[in-house]
Symmetry: C2
Subunit: 321 residues, 2 copies
Amino acid sequence: MSRPVRLPPTAQAIVRGDRRALARAITAVEDGDASADLLLRSLYARSGNAAVVGLAGPLGVGKSSLVNALVGLLRARQKPVGVVAVDPSSPFSGGSVLGDRIRLERRADDPDVFFRSMASRGAVGGIASTTTDVVRLLEAAGFPTVLVETVGSGQVDVAIREVATTRVVVTAPHLGDEVQTLKAGLFEIADVFCVNKSDLPGADVAERDLAELASLGASRDGWRPTVVRTSATTPSGIEELWSAIEAHEAFRAASGDRAGAERRRLAAEIVDRVRDRLAGEVARALEDDPALARLLDQVVDRALDPRTAADRVLEQRLRAR
Amino acid sequence: MSRPVRLPPTAQAIVRGDRRALARAITAVEDGDASADLLLRSLYARSGNAAVVGLAGPLGVGKSSLVNALVGLLRARQKPVGVVAVDPSSPFSGGSVLGDRIRLERRADDPDVFFRSMASRGAVGGIASTTTDVVRLLEAAGFPTVLVETVGSGQVDVAIREVATTRVVVTAPHLGDEVQTLKAGLFEIADVFCVNKSDLPGADVAERDLAELASLGASRDGWRPTVVRTSATTPSGIEELWSAIEAHEAFRAASGDRAGAERRRLAAEIVDRVRDRLAGEVARALEDDPALARLLDQVVDRALDPRTAADRVLEQRLRAR
Protein backbone atom coordinates (compact mmCIF):
# COMPACT_ATOMS: atom_id res chain seq x y z
CA MET A 1 0.00 0.00 0.00
CA SER A 2 2.49 2.63 1.08
CA ARG A 3 5.44 0.46 0.11
CA PRO A 4 7.73 2.97 -1.57
CA VAL A 5 8.27 2.38 -5.28
CA ARG A 6 11.61 4.15 -5.30
CA LEU A 7 13.95 4.38 -2.34
CA PRO A 8 15.82 7.60 -1.51
CA PRO A 9 19.50 7.49 -2.60
CA THR A 10 20.90 6.81 0.90
CA ALA A 11 18.45 3.94 1.35
CA GLN A 12 19.46 2.56 -2.03
CA ALA A 13 23.12 2.72 -1.04
CA ILE A 14 22.42 0.80 2.18
CA VAL A 15 20.45 -1.88 0.35
CA ARG A 16 23.24 -2.11 -2.25
CA GLY A 17 25.70 -2.97 0.52
CA ASP A 18 27.47 0.37 0.96
CA ARG A 19 28.88 0.01 4.48
CA ARG A 20 29.85 3.66 4.84
CA ALA A 21 26.27 4.72 4.07
CA LEU A 22 25.09 2.17 6.66
CA ALA A 23 27.49 3.48 9.29
CA ARG A 24 26.42 7.09 8.62
CA ALA A 25 22.76 6.12 8.85
CA ILE A 26 23.33 4.45 12.23
CA THR A 27 25.01 7.62 13.49
CA ALA A 28 22.00 9.61 12.30
CA VAL A 29 19.68 7.25 14.22
CA GLU A 30 21.81 7.60 17.37
CA ASP A 31 21.82 11.38 17.06
CA GLY A 32 18.05 11.48 16.56
CA ASP A 33 18.72 13.24 13.23
CA ALA A 34 15.67 14.06 11.11
CA SER A 35 17.23 12.32 8.09
CA ALA A 36 17.06 9.02 10.01
CA ASP A 37 13.28 9.28 10.28
CA LEU A 38 12.75 9.36 6.51
CA LEU A 39 15.30 6.60 5.98
CA LEU A 40 13.66 4.29 8.49
CA ARG A 41 10.25 4.90 7.00
CA SER A 42 11.50 3.98 3.55
CA LEU A 43 13.51 0.91 4.62
CA TYR A 44 10.98 -0.61 7.01
CA ALA A 45 9.51 -2.82 4.26
CA ARG A 46 12.91 -4.56 4.06
CA SER A 47 13.16 -5.33 7.76
CA GLY A 48 11.84 -8.14 9.93
CA ASN A 49 13.59 -11.06 8.27
CA ALA A 50 16.80 -11.52 10.25
CA ALA A 51 17.45 -13.77 13.20
CA VAL A 52 18.15 -11.15 15.86
CA VAL A 53 20.15 -12.90 18.57
CA GLY A 54 20.45 -11.01 21.85
CA LEU A 55 23.23 -11.88 24.31
CA ALA A 56 22.68 -10.63 27.84
CA GLY A 57 24.33 -11.42 31.16
CA PRO A 58 26.44 -9.95 33.94
CA LEU A 59 29.81 -8.35 33.36
CA GLY A 60 32.75 -10.70 33.24
CA VAL A 61 31.03 -13.76 31.78
CA GLY A 62 32.75 -13.30 28.44
CA LYS A 63 29.93 -12.11 26.18
CA SER A 64 32.27 -10.29 23.81
CA SER A 65 34.49 -13.35 23.30
CA LEU A 66 31.39 -15.41 22.71
CA VAL A 67 30.17 -12.95 20.08
CA ASN A 68 33.58 -13.13 18.40
CA ALA A 69 33.40 -16.92 18.39
CA LEU A 70 29.89 -16.87 16.88
CA VAL A 71 31.05 -14.42 14.22
CA GLY A 72 33.94 -16.79 13.45
CA LEU A 73 31.55 -19.72 13.09
CA LEU A 74 29.14 -17.83 10.82
CA ARG A 75 31.93 -16.48 8.62
CA ALA A 76 33.42 -19.96 8.29
CA ARG A 77 29.99 -20.90 6.89
CA GLN A 78 30.08 -17.89 4.52
CA LYS A 79 27.21 -16.17 6.33
CA PRO A 80 27.20 -12.37 6.68
CA VAL A 81 26.64 -11.15 10.23
CA GLY A 82 25.96 -7.79 11.85
CA VAL A 83 26.89 -7.08 15.47
CA VAL A 84 25.48 -4.32 17.66
CA ALA A 85 27.11 -3.85 21.07
CA VAL A 86 25.12 -1.68 23.48
CA ASP A 87 27.45 -0.05 26.02
CA PRO A 88 26.57 1.88 29.11
CA SER A 89 27.55 5.48 28.46
CA SER A 90 30.56 7.11 29.97
CA PRO A 91 29.29 9.77 32.36
CA PHE A 92 31.60 12.50 31.16
CA SER A 93 32.34 12.00 27.50
CA GLY A 94 28.82 10.83 26.72
CA GLY A 95 30.52 8.20 24.58
CA SER A 96 30.62 4.49 25.16
CA VAL A 97 32.68 3.16 28.06
CA LEU A 98 34.54 0.56 26.07
CA GLY A 99 34.83 2.72 23.00
CA ASP A 100 34.81 1.71 19.38
CA ARG A 101 38.52 1.00 19.44
CA ILE A 102 38.33 -2.64 20.46
CA ARG A 103 35.45 -3.38 18.14
CA LEU A 104 36.92 -1.81 15.04
CA GLU A 105 39.94 -4.07 15.24
CA ARG A 106 37.69 -7.00 14.69
CA ARG A 107 37.58 -8.06 11.02
CA ALA A 108 37.74 -4.56 9.59
CA ASP A 109 38.76 -6.13 6.29
CA ASP A 110 35.66 -8.33 5.90
CA PRO A 111 32.66 -6.50 4.35
CA ASP A 112 30.31 -9.29 5.42
CA VAL A 113 30.88 -8.55 9.09
CA PHE A 114 29.59 -5.27 10.47
CA PHE A 115 30.43 -4.30 14.05
CA ARG A 116 28.86 -1.33 15.72
CA SER A 117 29.19 -0.15 19.28
CA MET A 118 26.38 2.06 20.54
CA ALA A 119 26.45 4.22 23.64
CA SER A 120 23.31 3.83 25.70
CA ARG A 121 23.20 7.49 26.81
CA GLY A 122 21.36 6.51 29.95
CA ALA A 123 17.92 6.69 28.32
CA VAL A 124 16.05 3.47 28.91
CA GLY A 125 13.19 3.72 26.44
CA GLY A 126 15.71 5.26 24.10
CA ILE A 127 18.07 2.30 24.07
CA ALA A 128 15.46 -0.22 23.02
CA SER A 129 14.00 2.10 20.41
CA THR A 130 17.40 3.06 18.96
CA THR A 131 18.54 -0.55 18.92
CA THR A 132 15.32 -1.56 17.12
CA ASP A 133 16.01 1.05 14.44
CA VAL A 134 19.67 0.07 14.05
CA VAL A 135 18.72 -3.61 13.70
CA ARG A 136 16.23 -2.62 10.97
CA LEU A 137 19.00 -0.83 9.09
CA LEU A 138 21.19 -3.95 9.31
CA GLU A 139 18.30 -6.07 8.04
CA ALA A 140 17.75 -3.68 5.15
CA ALA A 141 21.49 -3.94 4.42
CA GLY A 142 20.96 -7.65 3.95
CA PHE A 143 22.38 -9.23 7.11
CA PRO A 144 20.45 -12.47 7.77
CA THR A 145 21.82 -12.61 11.32
CA VAL A 146 22.26 -9.74 13.75
CA LEU A 147 23.91 -10.31 17.13
CA VAL A 148 22.99 -7.78 19.80
CA GLU A 149 25.38 -7.81 22.74
CA THR A 150 24.80 -5.78 25.89
CA VAL A 151 27.87 -4.69 27.81
CA GLY A 152 27.08 -4.60 31.48
CA SER A 153 23.60 -5.33 32.63
CA GLY A 154 20.51 -3.74 34.08
CA GLN A 155 18.91 -1.12 31.94
CA VAL A 156 20.68 -2.00 28.72
CA ASP A 157 19.22 -5.51 28.88
CA VAL A 158 15.83 -3.99 28.19
CA ALA A 159 17.04 -3.58 24.63
CA ILE A 160 17.60 -7.34 24.35
CA ARG A 161 14.15 -8.13 25.63
CA GLU A 162 12.42 -5.89 23.13
CA VAL A 163 14.58 -6.35 20.08
CA ALA A 164 15.87 -9.93 19.93
CA THR A 165 14.03 -12.82 18.31
CA THR A 166 16.20 -15.29 20.28
CA ARG A 167 17.51 -14.27 23.70
CA VAL A 168 20.67 -15.93 25.02
CA VAL A 169 21.44 -15.38 28.70
CA VAL A 170 25.15 -15.92 29.35
CA THR A 171 26.50 -16.91 32.75
CA ALA A 172 29.76 -18.35 34.06
CA PRO A 173 30.61 -20.76 36.88
CA HIS A 174 31.33 -19.31 40.31
CA LEU A 175 29.69 -15.94 39.96
CA GLY A 176 29.35 -14.47 43.41
CA ASP A 177 25.97 -14.00 45.02
CA GLU A 178 26.17 -10.31 44.39
CA VAL A 179 26.52 -10.82 40.69
CA GLN A 180 23.64 -13.29 40.83
CA THR A 181 21.26 -10.55 41.90
CA LEU A 182 22.22 -8.59 38.80
CA LYS A 183 20.80 -11.40 36.74
CA ALA A 184 17.39 -10.92 38.27
CA GLY A 185 15.02 -10.38 35.41
CA LEU A 186 17.31 -12.02 32.89
CA PHE A 187 16.16 -15.56 33.61
CA GLU A 188 12.62 -14.82 32.57
CA ILE A 189 13.64 -13.73 29.09
CA ALA A 190 16.03 -16.57 28.19
CA ASP A 191 15.38 -18.81 25.19
CA VAL A 192 18.87 -20.28 25.54
CA PHE A 193 21.09 -20.40 28.62
CA CYS A 194 24.80 -20.43 27.97
CA VAL A 195 27.32 -21.42 30.64
CA ASN A 196 30.47 -19.82 29.30
CA LYS A 197 33.99 -20.35 30.68
CA SER A 198 32.92 -23.98 31.08
CA ASP A 199 36.56 -25.01 31.57
CA LEU A 200 36.43 -23.40 35.02
CA PRO A 201 35.52 -25.53 38.03
CA GLY A 202 31.84 -25.39 38.92
CA ALA A 203 30.55 -25.57 35.35
CA ASP A 204 28.72 -28.85 36.04
CA VAL A 205 26.89 -27.36 38.99
CA ALA A 206 26.05 -24.18 37.06
CA GLU A 207 24.70 -26.24 34.15
CA ARG A 208 22.60 -28.45 36.45
CA ASP A 209 21.19 -25.39 38.27
CA LEU A 210 20.25 -23.73 35.01
CA ALA A 211 18.67 -26.89 33.63
CA GLU A 212 16.55 -26.99 36.77
CA LEU A 213 15.58 -23.33 36.41
CA ALA A 214 14.85 -23.89 32.73
CA SER A 215 12.47 -26.74 33.55
CA LEU A 216 10.65 -24.49 36.04
CA GLY A 217 10.14 -21.78 33.44
CA ALA A 218 9.23 -24.30 30.78
CA SER A 219 5.74 -23.12 29.94
CA ARG A 220 6.48 -19.86 28.10
CA ASP A 221 4.86 -20.10 24.69
CA GLY A 222 5.63 -23.83 24.66
CA TRP A 223 9.39 -23.33 24.37
CA ARG A 224 11.60 -24.92 26.97
CA PRO A 225 14.87 -22.98 27.31
CA THR A 226 17.93 -25.02 26.36
CA VAL A 227 21.20 -25.03 28.29
CA VAL A 228 24.52 -25.03 26.44
CA ARG A 229 28.11 -25.11 27.77
CA THR A 230 30.70 -23.07 25.95
CA SER A 231 34.25 -21.90 26.25
CA ALA A 232 34.90 -18.97 23.96
CA THR A 233 38.66 -19.17 24.47
CA THR A 234 39.24 -22.90 23.83
CA PRO A 235 36.88 -22.58 21.85
CA SER A 236 34.31 -25.28 22.47
CA GLY A 237 30.53 -25.54 22.38
CA ILE A 238 30.14 -22.72 19.86
CA GLU A 239 28.50 -24.98 17.26
CA GLU A 240 26.14 -26.32 19.93
CA LEU A 241 25.25 -22.76 20.92
CA TRP A 242 24.51 -21.82 17.34
CA SER A 243 22.41 -24.99 16.88
CA ALA A 244 20.38 -24.08 19.96
CA ILE A 245 19.80 -20.60 18.55
CA GLU A 246 18.77 -22.03 15.16
CA ALA A 247 16.45 -24.50 16.90
CA HIS A 248 14.70 -21.63 18.65
CA GLU A 249 14.39 -19.65 15.42
CA ALA A 250 12.91 -22.74 13.72
CA PHE A 251 10.50 -23.20 16.62
CA ARG A 252 9.34 -19.61 16.29
CA ALA A 253 8.77 -19.95 12.57
CA ALA A 254 6.84 -23.22 13.01
CA SER A 255 4.77 -22.24 16.03
CA GLY A 256 3.46 -18.99 14.65
CA ASP A 257 4.99 -17.37 17.73
CA ARG A 258 6.85 -15.13 15.35
CA ALA A 259 3.69 -13.43 14.08
CA GLY A 260 2.08 -13.13 17.51
CA ALA A 261 5.10 -11.73 19.34
CA GLU A 262 5.91 -9.46 16.41
CA ARG A 263 2.38 -8.09 16.35
CA ARG A 264 2.45 -7.34 20.08
CA ARG A 265 5.82 -5.67 19.76
CA LEU A 266 4.77 -3.51 16.82
CA ALA A 267 1.52 -2.51 18.55
CA ALA A 268 3.61 -1.44 21.56
CA GLU A 269 5.94 0.53 19.28
CA ILE A 270 3.05 2.41 17.68
CA VAL A 271 1.58 3.17 21.12
CA ASP A 272 5.00 4.42 22.27
CA ARG A 273 5.37 6.69 19.27
CA VAL A 274 1.88 8.16 19.67
CA ARG A 275 2.42 8.54 23.42
CA ASP A 276 5.78 10.29 23.03
CA ARG A 277 4.34 12.82 20.61
CA LEU A 278 1.36 13.49 22.86
CA ALA A 279 3.69 13.80 25.87
CA GLY A 280 5.76 16.34 23.94
CA GLU A 281 2.60 18.32 23.25
CA VAL A 282 1.55 18.24 26.90
CA ALA A 283 5.04 19.21 28.11
CA ARG A 284 5.07 22.21 25.77
CA ALA A 285 1.54 23.18 26.82
CA LEU A 286 2.57 23.12 30.50
CA GLU A 287 5.23 25.70 29.64
CA ASP A 288 3.34 27.84 27.15
CA ASP A 289 -0.29 27.74 28.23
CA PRO A 290 -0.83 30.23 31.10
CA ALA A 291 -3.75 28.19 32.49
CA LEU A 292 -1.61 25.06 32.70
CA ALA A 293 1.33 26.98 34.16
CA ARG A 294 -0.97 28.17 36.96
CA LEU A 295 -2.02 24.58 37.53
CA LEU A 296 1.65 23.66 37.98
CA ASP A 297 2.15 26.59 40.39
CA GLN A 298 -0.60 25.16 42.57
CA VAL A 299 1.05 21.72 42.55
CA VAL A 300 4.40 23.27 43.55
CA ASP A 301 2.61 25.12 46.37
CA ARG A 302 0.98 21.85 47.50
CA ALA A 303 -2.46 23.36 46.93
CA LEU A 304 -3.23 20.73 44.28
CA ASP A 305 -1.91 17.20 43.93
CA PRO A 306 -0.29 15.91 40.70
CA ARG A 307 -3.03 13.31 40.11
CA THR A 308 -5.80 15.91 40.16
CA ALA A 309 -3.64 18.21 38.02
CA ALA A 310 -3.33 15.43 35.43
CA ASP A 311 -7.13 14.98 35.49
CA ARG A 312 -7.53 18.69 34.76
CA VAL A 313 -4.96 18.72 31.95
CA LEU A 314 -6.84 15.86 30.28
CA GLU A 315 -10.21 17.64 30.72
CA GLN A 316 -8.78 20.87 29.35
CA ARG A 317 -7.33 19.16 26.30
CA LEU A 318 -10.64 17.46 25.63
CA ARG A 319 -12.46 20.77 25.84
CA ALA A 320 -9.90 22.51 23.63
CA ARG A 321 -10.59 20.18 20.72
CA MET B 1 -7.70 25.61 46.74
CA SER B 2 -8.34 21.89 46.65
CA ARG B 3 -6.49 21.34 49.94
CA PRO B 4 -8.75 18.86 51.70
CA VAL B 5 -10.46 20.21 54.83
CA ARG B 6 -10.89 16.75 56.33
CA LEU B 7 -8.61 13.82 55.65
CA PRO B 8 -10.02 10.32 55.13
CA PRO B 9 -9.61 8.07 58.22
CA THR B 10 -6.59 6.14 56.89
CA ALA B 11 -4.83 9.39 56.03
CA GLN B 12 -5.58 10.71 59.51
CA ALA B 13 -4.12 7.57 61.04
CA ILE B 14 -0.91 7.96 59.02
CA VAL B 15 -0.56 11.63 60.00
CA ARG B 16 -1.21 10.68 63.65
CA GLY B 17 1.78 8.35 63.56
CA ASP B 18 0.03 4.99 63.19
CA ARG B 19 2.84 2.85 61.75
CA ARG B 20 0.60 -0.07 60.83
CA ALA B 21 -1.62 2.23 58.77
CA LEU B 22 1.53 3.59 57.10
CA ALA B 23 2.81 0.10 56.30
CA ARG B 24 -0.56 -0.94 54.85
CA ALA B 25 -0.70 2.23 52.74
CA ILE B 26 2.75 1.50 51.31
CA THR B 27 1.64 -2.00 50.39
CA ALA B 28 -1.40 -0.50 48.64
CA VAL B 29 0.91 1.83 46.68
CA GLU B 30 3.14 -1.09 45.68
CA ASP B 31 0.15 -3.14 44.58
CA GLY B 32 -1.28 -0.25 42.56
CA ASP B 33 -4.41 -0.52 44.67
CA ALA B 34 -7.16 2.04 43.97
CA SER B 35 -7.28 3.01 47.66
CA ALA B 36 -3.70 4.30 47.35
CA ASP B 37 -4.76 6.82 44.71
CA LEU B 38 -7.26 8.55 47.00
CA LEU B 39 -4.83 8.47 49.92
CA LEU B 40 -2.02 10.05 47.92
CA ARG B 41 -4.32 12.78 46.63
CA SER B 42 -5.40 13.65 50.15
CA LEU B 43 -1.92 13.54 51.72
CA TYR B 44 -0.01 15.37 48.99
CA ALA B 45 -0.44 18.72 50.77
CA ARG B 46 1.63 17.31 53.64
CA SER B 47 4.54 16.21 51.47
CA GLY B 48 7.60 17.98 50.12
CA ASN B 49 9.25 18.98 53.37
CA ALA B 50 11.67 16.14 54.14
CA ALA B 51 15.32 15.85 53.27
CA VAL B 52 15.17 12.86 50.93
CA VAL B 53 18.67 11.39 50.89
CA GLY B 54 19.35 8.88 48.12
CA LEU B 55 22.24 6.44 48.45
CA ALA B 56 23.32 4.81 45.20
CA GLY B 57 26.38 2.83 44.19
CA PRO B 58 27.57 -0.58 43.04
CA LEU B 59 26.93 -3.75 45.01
CA GLY B 60 29.40 -4.52 47.74
CA VAL B 61 30.34 -0.98 48.74
CA GLY B 62 28.43 -1.26 52.01
CA LYS B 63 25.41 0.96 51.41
CA SER B 64 23.23 -0.90 53.91
CA SER B 65 25.81 -0.58 56.70
CA LEU B 66 26.14 3.09 55.89
CA VAL B 67 22.37 3.55 56.11
CA ASN B 68 22.41 1.79 59.48
CA ALA B 69 25.17 4.09 60.69
CA LEU B 70 23.25 7.18 59.52
CA VAL B 71 20.12 5.93 61.27
CA GLY B 72 22.20 5.47 64.45
CA LEU B 73 23.51 9.03 64.21
CA LEU B 74 20.05 10.53 63.63
CA ARG B 75 18.48 8.53 66.44
CA ALA B 76 21.27 9.58 68.83
CA ARG B 77 20.18 13.13 67.96
CA GLN B 78 16.51 12.23 68.63
CA LYS B 79 15.56 12.67 64.98
CA PRO B 80 12.96 10.35 63.44
CA VAL B 81 14.04 8.74 60.18
CA GLY B 82 12.36 6.71 57.47
CA VAL B 83 14.29 4.28 55.26
CA VAL B 84 13.18 2.92 51.90
CA ALA B 85 15.35 0.19 50.36
CA VAL B 86 14.67 -0.48 46.69
CA ASP B 87 15.62 -4.06 45.79
CA PRO B 88 15.86 -5.65 42.40
CA SER B 89 13.06 -8.21 42.19
CA SER B 90 13.62 -11.90 42.35
CA PRO B 91 12.73 -13.29 38.93
CA PHE B 92 10.67 -16.19 40.23
CA SER B 93 9.01 -15.16 43.47
CA GLY B 94 8.39 -11.61 42.29
CA GLY B 95 9.49 -10.58 45.79
CA SER B 96 12.61 -8.71 46.76
CA VAL B 97 15.94 -10.50 46.51
CA LEU B 98 17.14 -9.63 49.98
CA GLY B 99 13.72 -9.94 51.55
CA ASP B 100 12.30 -8.02 54.44
CA ARG B 101 13.90 -10.35 56.96
CA ILE B 102 17.17 -8.46 57.40
CA ARG B 103 15.47 -5.10 57.49
CA LEU B 104 12.83 -5.95 60.04
CA GLU B 105 15.46 -6.92 62.56
CA ARG B 106 16.67 -3.38 62.58
CA ARG B 107 15.20 -1.31 65.42
CA ALA B 108 11.78 -2.91 65.31
CA ASP B 109 11.20 -1.51 68.82
CA ASP B 110 11.76 2.15 67.90
CA PRO B 111 8.63 3.86 66.43
CA ASP B 112 10.74 6.78 65.20
CA VAL B 113 12.57 4.57 62.72
CA PHE B 114 10.62 3.13 59.83
CA PHE B 115 12.32 0.62 57.50
CA ARG B 116 10.70 -0.54 54.34
CA SER B 117 12.08 -2.77 51.64
CA MET B 118 10.44 -2.45 48.23
CA ALA B 119 10.74 -4.88 45.36
CA SER B 120 11.42 -3.10 42.10
CA ARG B 121 9.34 -5.54 39.99
CA GLY B 122 11.47 -4.79 36.95
CA ALA B 123 9.41 -1.77 35.88
CA VAL B 124 11.68 1.23 35.43
CA GLY B 125 9.20 4.07 35.29
CA GLY B 126 7.33 2.18 37.97
CA ILE B 127 10.17 2.19 40.50
CA ALA B 128 10.68 5.93 40.46
CA SER B 129 6.95 6.63 40.58
CA THR B 130 6.28 4.12 43.38
CA THR B 131 9.27 5.39 45.38
CA THR B 132 8.05 8.97 44.98
CA ASP B 133 4.65 7.97 46.36
CA VAL B 134 6.14 6.00 49.28
CA VAL B 135 8.40 8.93 50.19
CA ARG B 136 5.33 11.19 50.19
CA LEU B 137 3.60 8.85 52.63
CA LEU B 138 6.64 8.94 54.93
CA GLU B 139 6.66 12.74 54.75
CA ALA B 140 2.97 12.86 55.60
CA ALA B 141 3.73 10.53 58.53
CA GLY B 142 6.07 13.22 59.82
CA PHE B 143 9.56 11.91 59.03
CA PRO B 144 11.85 14.93 58.49
CA THR B 145 14.49 12.70 56.90
CA VAL B 146 13.95 9.82 54.49
CA LEU B 147 16.89 7.70 53.35
CA VAL B 148 16.39 5.93 50.02
CA GLU B 149 18.85 3.10 49.48
CA THR B 150 19.10 1.20 46.21
CA VAL B 151 20.29 -2.38 46.42
CA GLY B 152 22.27 -3.23 43.34
CA SER B 153 22.55 -0.69 40.58
CA GLY B 154 21.40 0.12 37.10
CA GLN B 155 17.69 0.62 36.68
CA VAL B 156 16.88 1.02 40.36
CA ASP B 157 19.20 4.03 40.54
CA VAL B 158 16.73 5.89 38.39
CA ALA B 159 14.57 6.09 41.50
CA ILE B 160 17.36 7.94 43.33
CA ARG B 161 17.79 10.44 40.56
CA GLU B 162 14.12 11.35 40.44
CA VAL B 163 13.21 11.15 44.10
CA ALA B 164 16.13 12.32 46.24
CA THR B 165 16.80 15.92 47.22
CA THR B 166 20.42 15.00 48.05
CA ARG B 167 22.11 12.21 46.12
CA VAL B 168 24.99 10.35 47.74
CA VAL B 169 27.04 8.11 45.46
CA VAL B 170 28.85 5.47 47.50
CA THR B 171 32.02 3.78 46.31
CA ALA B 172 34.78 1.74 47.91
CA PRO B 173 38.54 1.46 47.29
CA HIS B 174 39.74 -1.16 44.83
CA LEU B 175 36.56 -1.77 42.92
CA GLY B 176 37.46 -3.66 39.78
CA ASP B 177 37.18 -2.04 36.38
CA GLU B 178 34.10 -4.07 35.68
CA VAL B 179 32.29 -2.67 38.66
CA GLN B 180 33.45 0.80 37.63
CA THR B 181 31.45 0.61 34.44
CA LEU B 182 28.33 -0.08 36.51
CA LYS B 183 28.78 3.30 38.08
CA ALA B 184 28.46 5.01 34.72
CA GLY B 185 25.65 7.48 35.02
CA LEU B 186 25.95 7.66 38.80
CA PHE B 187 28.71 10.25 38.80
CA GLU B 188 26.56 12.82 37.07
CA ILE B 189 23.91 12.73 39.75
CA ALA B 190 26.13 12.94 42.85
CA ASP B 191 25.79 15.80 45.31
CA VAL B 192 28.06 13.97 47.75
CA PHE B 193 30.63 11.27 47.01
CA CYS B 194 31.27 8.82 49.80
CA VAL B 195 34.33 6.56 49.84
CA ASN B 196 33.17 3.85 52.21
CA LYS B 197 35.39 1.08 53.62
CA SER B 198 38.04 3.78 53.91
CA ASP B 199 40.12 1.53 56.19
CA LEU B 200 40.98 -0.57 53.14
CA PRO B 201 44.16 0.20 51.18
CA GLY B 202 43.57 2.48 48.22
CA ALA B 203 41.16 4.84 49.98
CA ASP B 204 43.52 7.80 49.48
CA VAL B 205 43.70 7.19 45.76
CA ALA B 206 39.94 6.71 45.50
CA GLU B 207 39.34 9.96 47.40
CA ARG B 208 41.80 11.89 45.23
CA ASP B 209 40.25 10.49 42.03
CA LEU B 210 36.78 11.44 43.16
CA ALA B 211 37.85 14.92 44.22
CA GLU B 212 39.25 15.36 40.72
CA LEU B 213 36.03 14.10 39.12
CA ALA B 214 34.03 16.32 41.44
CA SER B 215 35.99 19.38 40.34
CA LEU B 216 35.32 18.49 36.69
CA GLY B 217 31.58 18.28 37.27
CA ALA B 218 31.58 21.38 39.44
CA SER B 219 29.26 23.57 37.45
CA ARG B 220 25.93 21.84 38.06
CA ASP B 221 23.56 24.42 39.52
CA GLY B 222 26.54 26.02 41.29
CA TRP B 223 27.02 23.09 43.69
CA ARG B 224 30.40 21.40 43.79
CA PRO B 225 30.06 17.79 44.94
CA THR B 226 31.82 17.07 48.20
CA VAL B 227 33.89 13.96 48.90
CA VAL B 228 33.68 12.21 52.27
CA ARG B 229 35.53 9.16 53.60
CA THR B 230 33.61 6.78 55.81
CA SER B 231 33.90 3.41 57.42
CA ALA B 232 30.51 2.12 58.42
CA THR B 233 31.99 -0.71 60.48
CA THR B 234 34.54 1.24 62.57
CA PRO B 235 32.44 3.51 62.40
CA SER B 236 34.12 6.71 61.28
CA GLY B 237 33.23 9.65 59.07
CA ILE B 238 29.48 9.25 59.62
CA GLU B 239 29.12 12.71 61.18
CA GLU B 240 31.11 14.21 58.31
CA LEU B 241 28.84 12.43 55.83
CA TRP B 242 25.74 13.79 57.55
CA SER B 243 27.24 17.30 57.65
CA ALA B 244 27.90 17.12 53.90
CA ILE B 245 24.28 16.07 53.33
CA GLU B 246 23.01 18.90 55.56
CA ALA B 247 25.28 21.37 53.73
CA HIS B 248 23.73 20.37 50.43
CA GLU B 249 20.20 20.66 51.83
CA ALA B 250 21.06 24.13 53.15
CA PHE B 251 22.51 25.08 49.76
CA ARG B 252 19.32 23.99 48.04
CA ALA B 253 17.16 25.99 50.41
CA ALA B 254 19.33 29.11 50.03
CA SER B 255 19.88 28.94 46.27
CA GLY B 256 16.26 28.55 45.31
CA ASP B 257 17.35 25.38 43.56
CA ARG B 258 14.75 23.60 45.63
CA ALA B 259 11.85 25.40 43.96
CA GLY B 260 13.30 25.13 40.45
CA ALA B 261 14.19 21.45 40.57
CA GLU B 262 10.94 20.64 42.34
CA ARG B 263 8.93 22.46 39.71
CA ARG B 264 10.66 20.60 36.86
CA ARG B 265 10.13 17.31 38.62
CA LEU B 266 6.45 17.94 39.26
CA ALA B 267 5.88 19.12 35.68
CA ALA B 268 7.49 15.87 34.51
CA GLU B 269 5.26 13.88 36.85
CA ILE B 270 2.10 15.52 35.52
CA VAL B 271 3.24 14.92 31.93
CA ASP B 272 3.95 11.25 32.80
CA ARG B 273 0.51 10.80 34.32
CA VAL B 274 -1.25 12.39 31.37
CA ARG B 275 0.90 10.43 28.92
CA ASP B 276 0.25 7.10 30.65
CA ARG B 277 -3.50 7.62 30.55
CA LEU B 278 -3.42 8.64 26.89
CA ALA B 279 -1.18 5.65 26.10
CA GLY B 280 -3.70 3.37 27.79
CA GLU B 281 -6.44 4.86 25.61
CA VAL B 282 -4.42 4.37 22.43
CA ALA B 283 -3.47 0.79 23.35
CA ARG B 284 -7.12 -0.09 23.92
CA ALA B 285 -8.11 1.61 20.67
CA LEU B 286 -5.53 -0.44 18.73
CA GLU B 287 -7.25 -3.56 20.04
CA ASP B 288 -10.88 -2.49 19.83
CA ASP B 289 -11.10 -0.13 16.87
CA PRO B 290 -11.30 -2.17 13.61
CA ALA B 291 -9.72 0.66 11.58
CA LEU B 292 -6.70 0.78 13.90
CA ALA B 293 -6.45 -3.03 13.96
CA ARG B 294 -6.22 -2.96 10.15
CA LEU B 295 -3.48 -0.35 10.42
CA LEU B 296 -1.55 -2.72 12.69
CA ASP B 297 -2.08 -5.60 10.23
CA GLN B 298 -0.40 -3.51 7.55
CA VAL B 299 2.56 -2.78 9.82
CA VAL B 300 2.95 -6.50 10.62
CA ASP B 301 2.85 -7.20 6.85
CA ARG B 302 5.53 -4.53 6.27
CA ALA B 303 3.14 -2.61 4.01
CA LEU B 304 3.22 0.37 6.36
CA ASP B 305 5.98 1.51 8.72
CA PRO B 306 5.35 2.17 12.45
CA ARG B 307 6.15 5.89 12.15
CA THR B 308 3.53 6.46 9.46
CA ALA B 309 1.09 4.29 11.43
CA ALA B 310 1.61 6.55 14.45
CA ASP B 311 0.95 9.61 12.24
CA ARG B 312 -2.34 8.07 11.15
CA VAL B 313 -3.41 7.13 14.67
CA LEU B 314 -2.85 10.73 15.75
CA GLU B 315 -4.78 12.06 12.71
CA GLN B 316 -7.61 9.64 13.34
CA ARG B 317 -7.87 10.62 17.01
CA LEU B 318 -7.94 14.29 16.07
CA ARG B 319 -10.72 13.67 13.58
CA ALA B 320 -12.69 11.56 16.05
CA ARG B 321 -12.98 14.40 18.53
